[in-house]
C-alpha cells in the first residue's frame, strides 16, 4: 500500500511538472517577471533627497541676492527652477509640487544684510514630510554658509556622514534585499495560488479526491515542481543583486541560498493554503494579490522601518514571512553575520514552512467531507 502510494505520488509530481512545462508562455512569464521587476524597481525605489527643486523670491535683485542665488544654484543637491520678483504668489508652485522648497528674500536685501537685519523665510511643501525636512535643511545650510563667507555670523558646523555597512550609500542597494524578498514571495505564492482552485474550476477536483493520494501528498506534489522554479528565480534575483547592483555578500553564500530555499517554500505553501480554501480561481487570485501584496510591502520592513511603527503594530510584523527573510538577507549580505546571529530567524522560517504545508493539507482535507 505504501509502495503504491509512493509510486502514485511520483506520477502525480510528474504529471504536475508536465502541466507546467507544457505551457511555455506562462513558464516564460514566471521566469522573466522576477528579473524584470528586480531590474526596474531596484533602481527606482529610493528615498534619498538629491534633487530638491527650489524657487527663490527675490524682489530686490541686488548684488548680494544674486550672489546668494548663485550659491544655491551651484549646490549639488538643489535645482533652482525659477526666480520670482515677488509680484506673483509662490505658494501655488509648492501646492502643485512644481517646487519642493521656496526661499523668500526681503526687499532691499543687500542693505538689510549689511546691517544684519535681513530676514529670510524658507517655505517647504510639508505634505511629503521627509522631503520637506531634508530640503529645508539643505537650503538653510547653504544660506548660513553663504552668510558666513560674506562676513556674517559665525561659521557653520559642517557634517561628514558615513554610512556604515553600506559605505557607498547607493540607496538602491539598501532596498535590494527587501525587493528580493517582496518579489520572491509574491511570485511564488501566485504560482501555487491557482493550483488547487483551478482543479475546482475545471472539475478535475473530484478525480483528485478519489485518487489514493493523501492530502499532504497532493499538497507537496503541487508544490514540488514549483519549488525548483521558485529557487531558480531566487538564484537569478540574487545574481542580479550581486552583478547589477553590486550588493555584496559578506557572509556565507550557502546560508543565504538555504534561507532563500526555505523562504520560497514558505511562500509556495502559503499559495497552496489560499488555493485550497478558495472556491474558485478568481477568489484565489483576489485573495493572493489583495491579501499578500500590500501587507508584505508595508509590514516587512522592506521600505518602512519596523522600529518606526507604532508599538502595537511591531509584533504584527512577525507573522509576515518576508520580515524574517529580509533580516537574514540584510544580515548575510550587508553585515556578514552568520548562523550564530541568525539561527532564530532561520528557525522561524522553517517552522512557518511546516505549519503552512500542514494547514494546506488540512483545509484540503476539510473540503473532502
Amino acid at each position: 500500500m505504501i509502495a503504491f502510494r509512493m509510486s502514485a505520488f511520483r506520477s502525480f509530481v510528474v504529471k504536475e511538472t508536465r502541466h507546467i512545462l507544457r505551457d511555455r508562455q506562462t513558464l516564460a512569464v514566471l521566469l522573466l517577471m522576477p528579473v524584470a521587476m528586480v531590474l526596474l524597481f531596484g533602481f527606482a525605489i529610493r528615498t534619498d533627497v538629491e534633487d530638491v527643486r527650489v524657487v527663490i523670491v527675490d524682489p530686490s535683485r541686488d548684488a548680494r541676492s544674486t550672489d546668494l542665488t548663485r550659491a544655491l544654484a551651484s549646490t549639488h543637491a538643489l535645482r533652482l527652477i525659477a526666480v520670482y520678483s515677488g509680484l506673483q504668489p509662490v505658494e501655488p508652485t509648492l501646492r502643485t509640487g512644481e517646487a519642493n522648497v521656496a526661499l523668500l528674500l526681503p526687499t532691499d536685501f543687500a542693505r538689510r544684510f549689511e546691517r544684519g537685519t535681513a530676514e529670510v523665510l524658507v517655505m517647504s511643501d510639508g505634505a511629503n514630510a521627509n522631503y520637506a525636512a531634508t530640503g529645508e535643511a539643505y537650503v538653510r545650510t547653504v544660506v548660513q554658509q553663504w552668510a558666513a563667507e560674506n562676513g556674517g555670523g559665525a561659521p557653520v558646523v559642517r557634517v561628514a556622514t558615513r554610512m556604515r555597512f553600506n559605505p557607498t550609500l547607493a540607496s538602491q542597494n539598501l532596498f535590494v534585499p527587501g525587493l528580493l524578498a517582496f518579489v520572491l514571495t509574491l511570485v511564488s505564492a501566485l504560482m501555487t495560488a491557482i493550483s488547487i482552485a483551478k482543479e475546482k474550476d475545471t472539475g478535475t477536483m473530484e478525480v483528485l479526491l478519489v485518487s489514493p493520494l493523501r492530502p499532504i501528498q497532493i499538497v507537496v506534489g503541487k508544490v514540488a515542481p514549483y519549488l525548483v522554479l521558485a529557487f531558480v528565480n531566487a538564484l537569478t534575483a540574487l545574481g542580479l543583486a550581486f552583478v547589477v547592483f553590486g550588493v555584496p555578500v559578506r557572509g556565507s553564500l550557502a546560508l543565504l541560498l538555504a534561507a532563500a530555499l526555505v523562504y520560497v517554500l514558505v511562500s509556495l505553501a502559503l499559495g497552496v493554503l489560499i488555493s485550497s480554501r478558495a472556491p474558485n480561481q478568481r477568489t484565489a487570485m483576489m485573495g493572493a494579490l489583495l491579501g499578500l501584496m500590500l501587507p508584505t510591502l508595508a509590514l516587512s520592513g522592506f521600505i518602512f522601518p519596523i522600529a518606526s511603527m507604532p508599538g502595537w503594530l511591531q509584533p504584527v510584523t512577525n507573522i509576515v514571512p518576508a520580515t524574517w527573510f529580509i533580516l537574514i538577507a540584510r544580515g548575510v549580505m550587508l553585515k556578514g553575520v552568520g548562523l550564530a546571529v541568525l539561527w532564530k530567524q532561520c528557525l522561524v522560517l522553517c517552522a512557518m514552512a511546516a505549519i503552512l504545508l500542514a494547514a494546506g493539507a488540512r483545509s484540503f482535507n476539510d473540503r473532502i467531507e
Partner: protein, 379 residues
Amino acid sequence: MRTILFIIRKETLQVLRDRIMLIQIFLPPVLQLLILAQAMTFEVKHTDLALVDLDGTPAAERLVERFTASGRFDVSVRTASGDVADEALLTREANAVLRIPAGFERDLRRGRSPEVQLILNAEDGAAAGVVQSYAGQILAAFSQAEATATRPRVGLGATRVAAVRPGVRIQTRKLYNPEGKYLAYMAIGLLASLVTIVGILLTSQNIAREKEIGALEQLNVTPITKSQFIVGKLAPFWVLGLIELTVGLLVIRLVFGIPFVGFVPLVYLGAGVYLFAALGLGLLVSTVVQTQQQAQFVTFFVLVTFFFLGGIFTPVDSMPGWAQTVAAFNPIRHFVSLLRTVLIKGGGLGDIAGGLGAMAAFAAVVLTLALLRYRKTAA
C-alpha cells in the same frame, strides 16, 4: 442604449450574486487601510547615539544637548575611542556615532567651520537617510544659534545692542503639514492603491474568465457591438470603484481624523477619470491574455509597476531621471498627486487640470486599444 443597459444589468447581477467576492473587495481593503496606513512611516522616533567627544568643551556640550533636547537622540555610549563606538554600532547598542573633533570650539570662535562626523548604521536604508536629515536640521539650528550668540555686542547694560554686522535670520515654515506627519500622505497613497487593485483585478480577469468558461462565445453571437460590450463591462466596476473610494475616504476622515482641506467633489472628478484609465488597462490585459493565470501575473506586474513607479510610497523626486519619465505616463502617479493636492494642500481645479488631462489621455489610449484588441470572432 437599451443593449448597454442589459449588459450593465447582467454584469451588476453577476457582481451582486457573488457574495464572497463582494466581501473580498470591501473587507480586506478597509482592514488594510486601517492597519497598514499606520505602518507606513519613515519617522524615526528614537536613535541611540554613541558619542565620541574629542573636544570636551562647552560648545561641544551645547551641540550634544541640542541632539538630546530634540527628543530624537539619546546618548547610549560615551567614549573617546572610535573602535568602541564602532563596536557599539555592530551590536546595535547604538545606531549612530557622533564624533566631535578636537578643536571644535576653538574653530568656531576663530570663524573656521569645524567638521563633525556622523556615522550611521545604514543597514536599514530609509531610516539612515531620515536620521541623517534630522541631524542636518539640528546642526543647521545649532549653527544659527551660535551665529546669534557670538555676535559681538556693544553698549552697556540694558542698552547693549548687537553690533552692526552682516547677517541673516532664517525662519522656516512647513506648509500643509507643519508637524511632519506621514499618516495623511500615506493613507491617501494606500487608498489609491487599494482602489486600483480592486478595479484592475476585477476587470483584468473578466474577459479571460469568460474565455475560459466559454461564455464569451455566447456573447459573440449576440448583436451587441464591441463598444457597447466594453462600456457595459466597465460601468458596474466603475461604480464599485467609486463606492470603494468613498468608504476609504470615510475611514481616513472619521477614523484617522484627517481634515480634508480642499473641495472633495474634485476628488470624485479625478477618481472618475482615473477609474476609466485603470479599468481600461485591466480590460486591455484581459483581452491580451489567454488564461486567468496569465491574467493574474500580468496584473501583478502592472500593479507593482504602478506602486513602485507611481510615487505612492517613495517619492518620484528621489527616482533616477528615466524612472521619473516613466512615472509621467503612470496614471496612478497623477491620481495620487491629485488626491494629495486637493485633500492635504487644498488645491483647486487649476492645480489638478494637468493631471486630469494626462489621466484622460491614458484612458483614451487604453480603451481604444482594448476595443481594437477585442475581437468578436473567435480566432
